[in-house]
């Protein structure tokens, strides 16, 4: 992990978050991480180290939690986030082909970000819109009844 390139990250948002949770203990760790991610877009290692020294929660515990849950990412995200459903309803209607098509179009695998930082490609367990299966989301837009041939056109709308 490269600690160097983000040395310039401001600690101010972190201070605000910690101020809102006085005497933070273990039980507050997940909410704190959720807030850090909302503020910075991801969990920057330098900010986590600062959070550790300020709360007294050990870095190993913070990392243990941050790496356990799918929601947290330790790398910055792309400008647009694609969420393709890999849930059962989508799978039985050919969702796998959509996942493959996105992967092929962008040249990245699941949970990776394109080199130009344009897209982060994630798959999720169910988008809760199974009647539109197969479904994918780009940022907050839903695309239902997907076919692999539609993928390229849709992604081109996001620059």
């Amino acid at each position: 992990m490269d600690f160097g390139k983000e040395g310039s990250l401001s600690i101010e948002p972190l201070d605000k978050i910690l101020a809102s949770v006085p005497n933070a203990g273990f039980g507050d760790l997940i909410p704190i991480l959720q807030k850090i991610q909302a503020a910075y877009g991801y969990l920057p290692p330098s900010v986590l180290m600062a959070a550790s020294s300020r709360t007294g929660i050990t870095a190993s515990r913070i990392y243990g939690v941050a790496t356990f849950y799918e929601q947290f990412h330790l790398e910055p995200h792309g400008r647009h986030t694609i969420k393709c459903c890999r849930g059962t309803a989508c799978h039985v209607r050919g969702g796998r082909n959509i996942i493959r098509a996105i992967s092929r179009t962008l040249g990245v695998e699941e949970s990776e970000t394109t080199e130009d930082m344009r897209f982060t490609f994630e798959t999720v367990a169910c988008l809760g819109t199974c009647f539109l299966a197969p479904v994918m989301m780009v940022n907050n837009d839903y695309y239902g009844h997907m076919t692999s041939n539609k993928v390229k056109d849709i992604l081109e709308r996001y620059s």
Partner: protein, 637 residues
């Protein structure tokens, strides 16, 4: 703070006024499913039009009516006429309904699904007679799609919090008795009798007790809990109060997946409203019962739906299960007696208290009482959220309510219980939906996912799909689950790649048994179910993969080869342009060919070849499958 009695009165007045409103009202289904289907754009158009033309009309955003395949749904109130529900309402349709029906004399019967209230309207039948609704019994979902989930008065006017007041009146002991008499069993998967868990917890020593509402909903392909919370959050919260009161808990938690932002938002609003109404905090309604509620956002780990893992997660650690006993009812959150209850289990409680156990148990089978919601999806005509009496047959759910299988395909199996459940074959559709018979068939009731599979689904692939899910989600704490799911998955991968051996089938069964018996938590103990049920009912399909190297459903991509029929191909070149690896060549207007050594079996050519030609066909083993050819493109379609 308004007193609760005062609020009841005001709510009644507000609700009655709404019922015979002199102003037109649009009730727009704007839960996650409605929004995904385009309700947001439709709302924007509607609001814009109303504002621009100064139309006197109200717009109320409501939850989901369950007919998701017809979203966006709108119920329209026109003064003096029965309310009508419309389906597939886009921005243009809503304006047409406003102009022609609300402001004119044409009720737009072409988009109408039925009348929601009594009265006559030319060409429009009763909404309750809609084929998807006719067989349903909507009790838990009674308010979903009909009330404004963000307005507590709507809930109050529909008997809201009467069940809780009843509990306060009769006391915790009698409340427990009532729940026991109702026969309520947990709706989160295992079906444990709710009263028994409560009794353990009540008898456990210690003053401090906790109640947790499990809204983690991890089954990939199910959304019952989300829909209930989005459509009627107070129903769940009233259940939380009833349970908390019975247990003598002082604090409750709602553990909700972070992927449900709208549900979380509505819970937060509703909790604020409860405070206003004096339904949370110290000495609630002067009963001596003090209780507060906190929402905890899950962070995306399937195993956190398991109760001990969920507790670990609330405590701020990695969400890993721990051995039971001690059961959470004796030693749970922070070591205190804790009851964990699914969203829908809690949603049942107001009904039981308010209407009595006897009323509640009217529906159901011997051992499974009441109604249950299911998220019906997959290869079925009418997908959505349904609520049926327990004891109904699978056939009734899939054919009567779901409308059968689309495109004249044949039903193959029904998957219930998600990754912990199994596949029930088409010949067992007379099976009744209750805890015992589903377990006997090798599956489980689960939390309510019901996925219909047709002849185009491969059962080896389905088993592989679920195993790859559980393998990935296994927390890794105990070896049978960690190693066993991986071992089963790699066998399934071999089989679906055409490299399996007959001995693999026995191996699968042996490992499955070990994982079932040796795993610490429910994830591992139930992970083999999809494999065991498909082996039990679809062994021939496994054998086909192994011995004949073919996938009869044409799903397992490594066993499928793609070819172009010389007689059908006109050389239009569409396939050659789309092929990502340039495996297709040929001169313009001459038949093309696919280079089998280059092809990656992605199927892009198959879906691109215009269906007037349908020149791409597939082979798997000795089987050949052509696509249906349509002589002329149907322009009207």
């Amino acid at each position: 703070m308004t007193s609760l009695q005062e609020a009841f009165t005001k709510a009644r007045i507000q609700w009655d006024k709404l019922q015979d409103s002199k102003v037109p009202i649009f009730f727009v289904g704007a839960a996650t499913c409605g929004r995904a289907a385009g309700a947001s754009e439709m709302l924007e158009r509607l609001r814009g039009y109303i504002k621009a033309k100064s139309v006197d009309a109200l717009v109320i955003e409501v939850g989901c009516l369950g007919l998701c395949y017809l979203e966006p749904l709108v119920i329209v109130h026109k003064p003096g006429a029965p309310r009508v529900c419309y389906g597939n309402v886009g921005p243009d349709e809503i304006i047409a309904i406003l102009e022609n029906h609300v402001l004119g004399n044409d009720p737009c019967a072409q988009w109408a699904l039925g009348k929601v209230t009594a009265g006559e309207l030319e060409g429009i039948g009763d909404f309750n007679e809609h084929p998807m609704l006719r067989r349903q019994v909507r009790r838990i979902l009674r308010n979903c799609g009909l009330i404004d989930p963000e307005n507590s008065y709507h809930y109050l006017a529909r008997d809201g919090y009467r069940g809780f007041l009843k509990a306060l009146e009769i006391g915790p002991g009698k409340t427990l008795e009532e729940v026991k008499a109702s026969g309520l069993r947990g709706r989160g998967g295992a079906g444990f009798p709710t009263w028994r868990k409560w009794q353990f917890c009540r008898n456990a020593p210690g003053e401090t007790k906790y109640l947790i509402c499990n809204a983690d909903e991890g089954d990939p392909g199910a959304f019952m809990n989300r829909s209930l919370i989005e459509g009627d959050p107070h129903a769940v919260l009233e259940g939380v109060l009833i349970a908390g009161f019975t247990l003598g808990a002082s604090q409750g938690y709602i553990y909700c997946r972070a992927e449900y932002p709208l549900a979380i938002h509505r819970l937060e609003l509703a909790i604020g409203q409860m405070r206003e109404l004096g339904l949370l905090g110290e000495n609630i309604q002067a009963s001596g019962f003090s209780f507060d509620l906190t929402i905890k956002k899950g962070a995306g780990a399937f195993v956190c739906g398991e109760e001990t893992a969920l507790i670990a997660s609330i405590e701020g650690g990695r969400g890993m299960p721990r051995p039971r006993p001690p059961f959470p009812a004796e030693s749970g959150l922070w070591g205190k007696p804790t009851v964990i209850q699914n969203v829908e289990s809690l949603g049942n409680l107001p009904l039981i208290l308010n209407n009595g156990a006897k009323w509640y148990a009217q529906y159901g089978s011997e051992s499974s009482k009441g109604t249950k919601t299911f998220a019906l999806a997959g290869k079925v005509e009418r997908t959505g959220l349904v609520e049926v009496p327990l004891g109904i047959t699978l056939k009734d759910v899939i054919y009567d309510i779901g409308g059968g299988i689309p495109s004249d395909k044949v039903l193959k199996a029904v998957q219930t219980g998600g990754p912990s459940g199994g596949c029930i074959p088409a010949e067992k559709m007379d099976l009744t939906v209750d805890y015992e018979s589903l377990t006997e068939a090798g599956s489980i009731m689960g939390s309510g996912g019901m996925i219909v599979l047709d002849e185009d689904n491969c059962m080896v692939d389905i088993a592989k799909y679920f195993l790859s899910f559980t393998q990935e989600e296994s927390c890794g704490k105990c070896p049978p689950c960690r190693v066993g799911t991986r071992a089963m998955l790699s066998i399934l991968e071999r089989i679906s790649a055409g490299e399996g051996e007959m001995a693999d089938l026995d191996k699968l069964e042996t490992i499955a048994q070990t994982v079932k018996d040796g795993s610490l938590c429910g994830l591992g103990q139930t992970a083999p179910n999809p494999v065991l049920t498909t082996l039990r009912y679809f062994r021939k399909e496994y054998e086909d993969h192994i011995e004949k190297c073919r996938c009869p459903a044409f799903v397992c991509s490594q066993m499928i080869s793609y070819h172009i029929d010389r007689d059908r191909c006109t050389g239009c070149g569409a396939c050659a342009r789309i092929c990502p690896v340039k495996a297709i060549s040929g001169e313009a207007k001459k038949p093309h060919v696919i280079d089998q050594h280059v092809c990656i079996h992605c199927g892009a050519c198959l879906s691109t070849c215009p269906d007037v030609y349908a020149a791409v066909y597939r082979r798997s083993g000795e089987l050949t499958r052509y696509e249906a050819r349509r002589e002329k493109r149907d322009k009207t379609n």
